[in-house]
């Protein structure tokens, strides 16, 4: 169970109607269905992952997130979830607004480009960062719109999006000491490699 999935579970109401963008093999959706009795759909574009999810009894619809959410009516879901896909879409700002059109709340996770390891890669080595959260080379990465926590929060402010909760996690290092955890809370933009946000329209 991924750390950000555990957190997403806390912020989604039981029996909620959920849309999972970039749902992969449906791991999170399956977990939410069992744990919280949610209903809903996953959107995915990877053929093998879609088949795997269908074989697991989930409702998965093949769709490119770059095509937007026009097929869904306003407020047709309680929560839209998007785990680590924001940085890979063509227009993250438009998609974010679209998510908050089709649902009351959005739970979003994305890798933090300002993580200290990335800063070392770029600042000291002078090379594009490669890490557990960002495992690609510059020439083959699907992550075309990377941002930092600060960048994301600025975007939210510009579009009157209210941040209900946020949580910075570091899943590249297992078993943090309480001190390290406290430090991550203090300086997430430097120390956390993944963020999870729960946002809503103001």
């Amino acid at each position: 169970m991924r750390m950000d999935h555990q957190l997403a579970e806390r912020w989604i109401a039981p029996q909620a109607h959920v849309l999972d963008l970039g749902c992969g093999n449906g791991e999170l959706l399956a977990h939410l269905q069992q744990k919280l009795g949610v209903t809903g759909y996953g959107l995915e574009i990877d053929e093998d992952k879609i088949n795997e999810a269908i074989g697991n009894g989930l409702s998965i619809v093949e769709q490119d997130l770059n095509d937007g959410l026009a097929r869904f009516a306003d407020n047709s879901f309680d929560t839209v979830v998007m785990a680590r896909a924001l940085q890979a879409v063509k227009a993250p700002d438009e998609l974010l607004l679209d998510m908050l059109r089709v649902a009351r709340e959005a739970v979003i996770t994305f890798p933090n480009f300002a993580h200290w390891q990335n800063r070392i890669h770029l600042g000291l080595k002078g090379m594009m960062p490669v890490s557990e959260a960002l495992p690609y080379e510059w020439y083959n990465t699907p992550n075309i719109h990377l941002c930092t926590f600060k960048d994301f929060e600025l975007l939210c402010a510009q579009h009157d999006i209210h941040i209900i909760n946020r949580f910075a996690v570091s899943d590249s290092e297992k078993g943090h000491t309480p001190l390290m955890k406290a430090l991550i809370r203090q300086a997430p933009n430097l120390l956390a490699d993944v963020a999870i946000y729960r946002v809503t329209k103001k």
Partner: protein
């Protein structure tokens, strides 16, 4: 072959999602072997949507696999326009030609007969043994008033066979279900026109199926679809040998009409690219002959396919089948109330008024180029309003369905394009129904649904064997 009596597929998932081994097809797939069709006679009268009644009817049926004790492993296969009950296996040991969906149905195949009991029915109106235009009209038996030329000879229905709808077929299939003692189908599966039957089942008998697989299909035919069907029909109707449909009595056969009809239909099943790859501009004799005989390979192919088809198919059946396609509309029983103004306007406008309005619009666009732009804007608005109306109608039809859906389209299918499948998916999602959708990248156009494409077969297999975990959500309006 033993059916699994401990069918686990409907149990609730109570652990972490597992990787389903069925996602890929086992290499030890096989044939269902030699099969024998069965005839089921229904002695009771059947009232059809057109308000005519068949006094009795017969259905030709093939089954594969074994029905389990609680009759919970049955899968119904619905055939397409030219299909029949022979979906898999062979009719004899020397039979070279397997059933039309043999790559889908068999031991360890996507529809695994080791696990499921599979039923395929030849629909009424067809020409493969079920009651249709080529079977004897009971009204003609023992009656000399039927046809002055034919004395007391029993006559086939011919053109007197009533027009059939998809809904009628589903009704007869439900009657067959009763006969077989199958209260609830594990799944109903169909491609193209078969997909329409599966969809209609979910609307008409929501409690009688758990899964619905709609492949390369559409919520209803477009004007272009109907136009192609009309060309096919006119080809048959205008053949001098058609004899108003009484060609069997007259001792003729509208072969040319049927060949033409199939040729035009066949083009719509393929794609430009597929035809280019298969034939290009290749010439049969290598040079131009400057005549109207067969020159290009594609001409030769189309004529051959048409001729072969005309030998095995009945012209009246072809006419009837295309009409059943045109009539298909699962929303017919669910009139919507939300959009009264535009609907009323469109449907009450007479042909004369439409002609007048076309003439008027031609005049006005001559007079003012600006109005053309306005017309274009109005058209876009109309299209969007039509789309919303269509969605509302489908939502109304799907509101009370209870099954899980798998909708499959193929990227190069232009007869029933992926967008048409997506209309079904959007309406199902808007009503909160469990639905999965895949758009398979395949080069064969509409015909793709008959091809053995691993991803397609894997998805069907995964869907049919998946744990049943998604609860159906009651239809709701906007969430606040």
């Amino acid at each position: 072959m033993n059916a699994r009596s401990d069918n686990t597929s409907d149990q609730h998932l109570n652990s972490q999602p597992h990787t389903n081994s069925s996602a890929s097809i086992d290499s030890t797939t096989g044939s269902v072997g030699v099969v024998t069709p069965q005839n089921f006679h229904f002695a009771e009268p059947l009232t059809l949507e057109c308000n005519r009644t068949l006094p009795s009817f017969d259905l030709m049926v093939e089954t594969y696999g074994t029905l389990n004790r609680d009759k919970s492993n049955a899968i119904l296969i619905c055939h397409a326009l030219s299909g029949n009950h022979h979906a898999a296996g062979f009719h004899s040991a020397d039979d070279k030609k397997a059933g039309w969906w043999d790559n889908m149905i068999g031991p360890n195949k996507a529809i695994d007969i080791n696990q499921f009991y599979v039923v395929c029915v030849n629909n009424i109106g067809s020409c493969f043994g079920s009651t249709g235009p080529t079977t004897i009209n009971p009204d003609s038996v023992g009656s000399d008033s039927f046809d002055a030329n034919s004395s007391d000879e029993p006559q086939v229905y011919g053109p007197d066979f009533p027009l059939i709808t998809i809904k009628d077929w589903v009704k007869t299939q439900a009657m067959l279900s009763d006969r077989l003692g199958i209260d609830v189908w594990h799944a109903i599966v169909g491609g193209s026109m078969g997909g329409m039957q599966a969809l209609q089942w979910s609307v008409d008998y929501p409690e009688r199926l758990k899964r619905c697989v709609v492949i390369a299909s559409t919520p209803k035919l477009s004007a272009q679809n109907i136009a192609f069907n009309e060309v096919a029909r006119q080809s048959i109707l205008s053949d001098p040998d058609f004899k108003n449909g009484r060609y069997i009595q007259e001792g003729t056969y509208p072969r040319r009409g049927l060949i033409l009809a199939r040729m035009v239909g066949h083009i719509t099943y393929l794609t430009d690219d597929a035809m280019k790859a298969k034939f290009g501009r290749d010439l049969k004799s290598g040079k131009f002959m400057y005549g109207y005989d067969v020159e290009f390979q594609v001409e030769s192919y189309l004529r051959y396919q048409g001729e072969r088809f005309s030998e095995n198919f009945d012209a009246n059946t072809y006419l009837l089948m295309t009409k059943a396609l045109d009539y298909f509309d699962p929303t017919r029983d669910y009139p919507i109330r939300d959009y009264p103004s535009t609907v009323a306007k469109d449907t009450t406008e007479s042909a004369v008024q439409i002609e007048d309005s076309i003439a008027a619009s031609v005049e006005s666009s001559k007079a003012n180029a600006q109005s053309e732009l306005e017309d274009a804007v109005t058209t876009i608005e109309d299209i969007e309003s039509d789309r919303q109306q269509e969605l509302s109608a489908l939502k109304a039809a799907f509101a009370h369905t209870q099954c899980q859906y798998l909708v499959v389209s193929f990227t190069t299918d232009w007869r029933f394009a992926p967008e048409r499948s997506q209309e079904i998916v959007d309406a199902l999602m808007a009503t909160g129904k469990p639905v999965s959708y895949i758009n398979i990248d395949a080069p064969h156009g509409h015909d793709s649904f008959l091809f053995d494409i691993p991803r397609y077969m894997g998805a069907v297999k995964g869907f049919l064997t998946a744990p049943f975990i998604t609860p159906s959500r009651p239809a709701t309006g906007e969430r606040s």
